[in-house]
Amino acid sequence: MRFPILPLALVALLLTACAAPQKRQEAQASPAAEPFASTYQRIAAAPVLLAGATILVGNGERLEDADVLLVDGKVAAVGHGLALPEGGQRVDARGKWVTPGLIDVHSHLGVYASPGMRAHSDGNEMVDPVTAGVWAEHGVWPQDPGFAAALAGGITTLQILPGSANLIGGRGVTLRNVPATTTQAMKFPGAPYGLKMACGENPKRVYGEKGGPSTRMGNVAGYRKAFIAAAEYARKMAEAKDEKDRPQRDLTLETLAGVLAGDIRVHIHCYRADEMANMLDLAREFEFRIAAFHHGVEAYKIADKLAGDGVCAALWADWWGFKMEAFDGIQENLAIVDRAPGSCAIVHSDSEEGIQRLNQEAAKAIAAGRRAGIAIPPERAIRWLTGNAAKALGVEDRTGTLEAGKMADVVLWSGNPFSVYAHAEQVWIDGALLYDRNDAARQPASDFRLGTEGQP
């Protein structure tokens, strides 16, 4: 990389600034442990008792006329007849439903922010088919009004991914859906990183006349070359006796090596069943695991295989037909994938509109399943938006279900969430009420909204 010629004083300043991180690096065998670390801080709040609701736990369990107690940012208890601690607030949830906060594993909020101006196009580093070294969080604009709109739909955690123009698009980031001035302040503390990959039509369309890949075979050769280089890099890093023997740090290879080491979870945009099978074999060749296929329009054709291999499938309820690889889309995709024993079916949005109503997307899938003779009760379907999604992101021990000890990410719904008429009335993140449909003082508005909205 070329460095500009700088004034002497500035050069001195930069050298000083760089010195501190350099010191930390020498202490470890691998590069700096936490660059761009999360500065997320939960908002302190008094205990909250939601009483008398229908509770969908997020793991398949359902309780009637039950209570959830939130204390110090955590779910303290779920059960019947819970007592409210001193100073706490009781919420009458009778006739209403309570679920864990919803999780969208596939969003481009912030990187393809509203308004959709050219300047806001930060989702695809379309200069090379393999850009594993870029990180989506560096393109996230926290003032995207889409975040607040998603919160109003019950979204408490979301993964922002690079787009699907590239074979390997870069790292994603898992965020808490809290209004903030910096992305670091939204970053889910301790969540593993994800890596975005894409198979199929997009990469070969983008790079077909730019030196390739221009075919699906070129796509697969591209992934394999990248992982071969990464394995070599990892080997050299591991074998180096001290720092001066190590190869120069390379962001692309470092991320790919993280995948091989099992530290970074792999999320692959992939539509066709045959291509998903190829990606599973790719993962086998390089001994890494795929966390989830995204979109998976043909996942229903290999539902048993995906469940057997422990791969999650993040799907739409009904998108189809906009590309040849989406031509075999059916509305029963989620139901058939979910039906396989050991499956991990997820509803994702890939849309700033869809993320606001993941509950309705799930409702559509439930209705299609029922029409096909597959009965899916609400307590099972909610897993698509909560527990299974948390599993794909590697945060299932922290959130995704209403179980004692987990983060108090909770949504109070006006009724059964699987209806077009259901509203998220109140949304808590880490036990703090961050959205209230009936209280303007608990409805965040991004900086962009000030003076631009024509409405109260």
């Binding site: 509203s114 308004p115 959709g116 101006m117 009004p145 889409g146 709109a149 039509e201 229903y300 054709k301 539902a303 048993d304 009904d318 998108w319 189809w320 037909g321 906009f322 590309k323 040849m324 031509f327 075999d328 889309g329 059916i330 509305q331 029963e332 058939i336 700033e352 509109e353 606001q356 109503r357 309705q360 409702a363 559509k364 439930i366 209705a367 299609a368 029922r370 029409r371 096909a372 003779g373 699987f418 209806s419 077009v420 008429y421 259901a422 509203h423 962009f448 909204r449 631009t452 909205e453 024509g454 409405q455």
Partner: protein
């Protein structure tokens, strides 16, 4: 499914279904007429020769096939939005897309109002059965304005999804204004008014047909004059409040019959729209500032327009052809955000039929109209429920599509070669 019935299905999907219209009595339904009689509980609908013959209680079947609705909702067949159903198969594959005229070689900013996109309509499109199984019976084919084209996209019209080749009723002229089509008007939306004024001058004969400045062909002038004389509906795609105000002025000056699609900020101009009697087809899911024309987008748009007296219908924000079935979700969300339920239903039925000149045939369950009906398992505006049966001209439509065929193939258990079971590609053993 064996080969014979595959052919039969293909035949069913391809031929006009109007041939041999039925006599049917749908008994004991919650009949949502979408008309003056509103909703009738426990009512019957009698169909004779494909037309609605009676709507009331305890009707005599008189030999008609009886369908017991058991209280379930019955509505008119739904409007599938302003779509490209039958005009495209796979959006990203140009060879399958006929939705827009993009002349390319033509002089910049030329327009072809004589373009009639309904002539490219394929009634055997794969997308037709996909829409029908969700209760959709008709759609407005829209002439789009794509890059290289014109703000004046051309003409479209209503088609019924019964296999008929031709559009029903009059044509509609499509105009797209605002920031989305500014690249087609010299990068300024003021250029759009410049063009519309010039088109009007040409249609009125005030610019000679052989003038080097002429942008329309003789056929185009003739067609446009018909609309500018108030002889047809002009659908204007426009979002921003200020632009809508200018559209209303232009329509008032010329006494034009217009409708608006998109209208993200239409609620800000609601009283004027109501006074002018202009129907608005809103994207009821649009609530983000997608661009600077839509800063005022709100989920309350439909409700506010309706409260002011505007006729409200719906328009999807994207992929209107493959996702036409999503229009029900738009209506349901509009209702969830303040639009009265009956107005939501009207937006899916009567309003589009009235707006596009087919109200004598479609849009309500009233005596004399075509028996285009849908029986639902539950609330038709709630995505939690699906359509059970569609009738077109009183003929029960097979609730099958390419998607249900794929579904049924893959619902079957994975074949086991070790047990001698053939791959899924083979018809299943009986």
């Amino acid at each position: 499914m064996n080969r014979v019935s595959t052919l039969a299905l293909a035949a069913l999907l391809a031929l006009p279904l109007g041939a041999g219209a039925q006599d049917v009595l749908i008994r004991n339904a919650t009949v949502h007429t979408a008309g003056a009689r509103g909703t009738l509980a426990g009512a019957d609908v009698l169909v004779r020769k494909g037309r609605i013959a009676a709507v009331g209680e305890h009707l005599d079947a008189g030999g008609a096939t009886v369908v017991e609705a058991a209280g379930r909702p019955l509505t008119p067949a739904l409007f599938g939005g302003i779509s490209e159903i039958g005009l495209e198969e796979v959006s990203a594959e140009e060879s399958t897309v006929d939705a827009a005229l993009t002349p390319g070689a033509e002089p910049a900013m030329a327009a072809r109002p004589e373009f009639d996109v309904t002539l490219a309509y394929n009634p055997a499109s794969i997308l037709v059965p996909v829409a029908r199984v969700e209760g959709i019976g008709f759609t407005l084919l829209g002439a789009a304005s794509h890059g290289g084209g014109s703000i004046l996209g051309g003409q479209g019209g209503i088609v019924r999804l019964d296999g008929s080749l031709d559009a029903l009723g009059p044509r509609t002229l499509f105009v797209s204004l605002g920031s989305a089509t500014a690249p087609l008007s010299g990068s300024s939306r003021a250029g759009q008014w410049l063009l519309l004024d010039q088109f009007a001058e040409e249609a009125a004969g005030r610019i000679g047909a052989d003038s080097p400045q002429a942008l329309l062909t003789p056929a185009g002038r003739r067609v446009l004059k018909g609309y500018l004389d108030g002889g047809g509906r002009i659908l204007v795609r426009v979002e921003r409040a200020a632009d809508i105000r200018r559209v209303l002025r232009w329509a008032a000056r010329g006494k034009l019959r217009i409708a608006i699609a998109g209208g993200a900020e239409a609620w800000q101009v609601a009283p004027e729209l109501a006074a002018a009697g202009v129907p608005v087809f809103v994207d009821a899911l649009a609530n983000l500032p997608a661009d600077f024309d839509r800063l005022g987008a709100t989920l309350a748009n439909a409700a506010r327009l309706h409260a002011a007296g505007v006729a409200v219908s719906f328009n999807l924000g994207g992929d209107e052809s493959h996702s036409a079935r999503k229009i029900r979700q738009l209506a349901g969300n509009a209702v969830a955000n303040g639009l009265p339920w009956e107005a939501g239903l009207a937006g899916l039925t009567r309003i589009p039929a009235e707006t596009f000149g087919v109200a004598g045939e479609l849009g309500t369950i009233e005596v004399g109209k075509r028996a285009d009906l849908v029986l639902w398992e539950g609330d038709p505006l709630d995505v939690a429920y699906t359509a059970t049966q569609l009738w077109l001209d009183g003929r029960a439509i097979p609730m099958r599509s390419r998607q249900t065929e794929l579904r049924d193939r893959y619902l079957r258990a994975t074949p086991r070669p070790e047990a001698g079971e053939l791959p899924r590609a083979y018809p299943p053993r009986r």
